[in-house]
């Protein structure tokens, strides 16, 4: 498959894993990730992909199998969503603590209860600090490209960390989009075979996952944190290299109509495309709206954000997860933390929208624009009630 094809994004992600020559796939099917692993199992069964497909009884086992495979030195892929990600939760930390560059396509979906299979970010946000590098896609092309980049980032000796590629459930996974496929030769030239730092092999026995007694646990976790922080350089380097190699450029932080914007929207994932459309419309009416699309979420690209937000006056942080008793939703907390530590004095407001598959409408973004334009300095204070604006709730 080379060149521009109309393809369901899930299948494009599976094809991306194939182009990366993954050696082990272990996954458990869950809506809306199912087509990704279904297609991978077909590719393996038909002999098109030389890999071991390990079928398991749960996501906990899927991630455990991936940890074992990656520890043995295999290029490893998995995919999950929602409840599946939460069932994997404890193993996510083991994958990152052991510094295993597993790549996971995470089809973002709401968490139960109430039971909901549709798209929001409550699943990934519950796992955001698990030591995984986190990338977010806004369209099908990015889902393919970022999957390829994820291996080169994660397997870099300066990094050696698992990477989660977030692909919004249904709104991306189940849509047919035009996707440009690179040739196998081009991907091979970009992504060399994985040479692990350590492997589980009887010729040179090592211990992975030993006890970290109180005398050493702190040093282990600090070393991991420093490496996570430093991995940002490699993420940016790989995005640049990808642009040079494939002709599609990527940045950790993307902007749209930002330079002269009175109001800056900040968001993660596919909703950025809705916002861009809304911005185009607002611009025709003289409303100067702009966008900051956070493609890299972990490690958090603070410097890169500040560089483009400098001098901005009003920032609307668009979130697709409830704070869950926190002062605000997670991304808002981080953006305001950045502001506290910099000269950024913008009025920043937290908008929660499009939960559990509820559509985000153009009129919603227009409403948000007007709301933050009208907001005064009192909106900077901690509110007595909820500290976020809920968009689209019937009241």
């Amino acid at each position: 498959m080379i060149g521009r094809k109309g393809i369901e994004v899930s299948l494009a992600v599976a094809e991306a894993a194939k182009l990366c020559r993954v050696e082990v796939v272990s996954a458990y099917p869950i809506t809306p990730q199912t087509h990704i692993v279904e297609h991978l199992s077909e590719l393996v069964a038909e002999g098109e992909l030389e890999a071991n497909f390990i079928t398991v009884e749960s996501e906990h086992s899927a991630m455990s199998a991936c940890v074992g495979a990656a520890a043995a030195g295999a290029r490893t892929f998995t995919s999950t969503s929602s409840q599946g990600l939460e069932l994997m939760h404890e193993i996510l930390f083991i994958a990152s603590g052991l510094r295993l560059p597993i790549v996971m396509a995470e089809a973002n979906r709401a968490l139960s209860a109430p039971l909901n299979i549709w798209n929001d970010h409550s699943d990934v946000m519950a796992a955001r600090d698990s030591g995984w590098i986190m990338l977010f896609c806004t369209n099908g092309q990015e889902a393919l490209d970022l999957t390829i980049m994820a291996y080169r980032i994660g397997e870099d000796r300066r990094v050696l960390m698992p990477v989660m590629v977030n692909i919004d459930g249904f709104t991306l996974t189940h849509v047919v989009e035009p996707v440009e496929f690179p040739s196998q030769e081009a991907v091979d030239a970009f992504l060399p075979p994985y040479t692990p730092a350590y492997t589980l092999h009887p010729d040179k026995p090592v211990t992975m996952g030993a006890y970290g007694i109180p005398e050493i646990y702190t040093e282990c976790k600090f070393a991991q944190e420093v490496a996570m922080n430093k991995s940002k350089e490699v993420v940016i380097e790989v995005m640049d290299a990808f642009g040079k190699h494939f002709g599609r450029s990527y940045k950790a932080v993307e902007t749209y109509q930002l330079e002269d914007a009175d109001v800056v929207f900040i968001a993660l994932g596919a909703i950025n495309e809705n916002i861009m459309t809304a911005i185009d419309e607002m611009r025709t009416e003289g409303k100067k709206a702009g966008l900051l699309n956070l493609r890299l979420y972990r490690p958090f690209p603070g410097d890169e954000l500040l560089a483009v937000l400098k001098g901005k006056k009003r920032i609307a942080v668009i979130e697709r997860v409830m704070p869950g008793g926190a002062l605000n939703s997670p991304l808002y907390n981080e953006i305001t933390s950045l502001a506290y530590r910099s000269s950024l004095t913008a009025l920043i407001k937290n908008y929660v929208i499009a939960l559990g598959g509820r559509d985000a409408l153009q009129s919603d973004f227009r409403h948000i624009f007007d709301d933050i334009q009208a907001a005064g300095t009192k909106d900077k204070k901690i509110q007595k009630g909820l500290n976020f604006a809920m968009i689209g709730v019937r009241a």
């Binding site: 211990t207 992975m208 996952g209 007694i213 702190t218 420093v226």
Partner: protein, 97 residues
């Protein structure tokens, strides 16, 4: 790792905390966990070796004369040896007495 565990700096660790030199558990003296220590009464010992077999930390050694003794660098004082001794030759004695 030549260094003791409480001397290793964070930047000296292998990636992912991998241990690539076997046998370093020896450097960690678990004897200081102990609140009671096993003491042998050799007049009652029949040299059966059950204490040596059941010690979960392999901290009991047979001396040249055939009697047994614990290595207090590693004995955690769990008392399994005293419990299993068929002649009651091992007593657990409070540390500090």
């Amino acid at each position: 790792m030549a260094k003791k565990v409480d001397e290793i700096k964070w930047h000296e660790l292998n990636i992912g905390g991998v241990i690539d030199e076997p046998g370093n558990a020896r450097e960690y003296l678990t004897g200081d966990w102990r609140s009671q220590r096993p003491v042998w009464d050799e007049s009652r010992c029949i040299k059966c070796g059950i204490c040596w077999m059941v010690c979960p930390d392999v901290a009991i050694y047979q001396k040249d004369d055939g009697y047994f003794v614990a290595n207090y660098d590693y004995s955690k004082g769990c008392g399994i040896c005293a419990k299993e001794c068929p002649t009651g030759a091992i007593k657990m004695v409070e540390e500090g007495r």
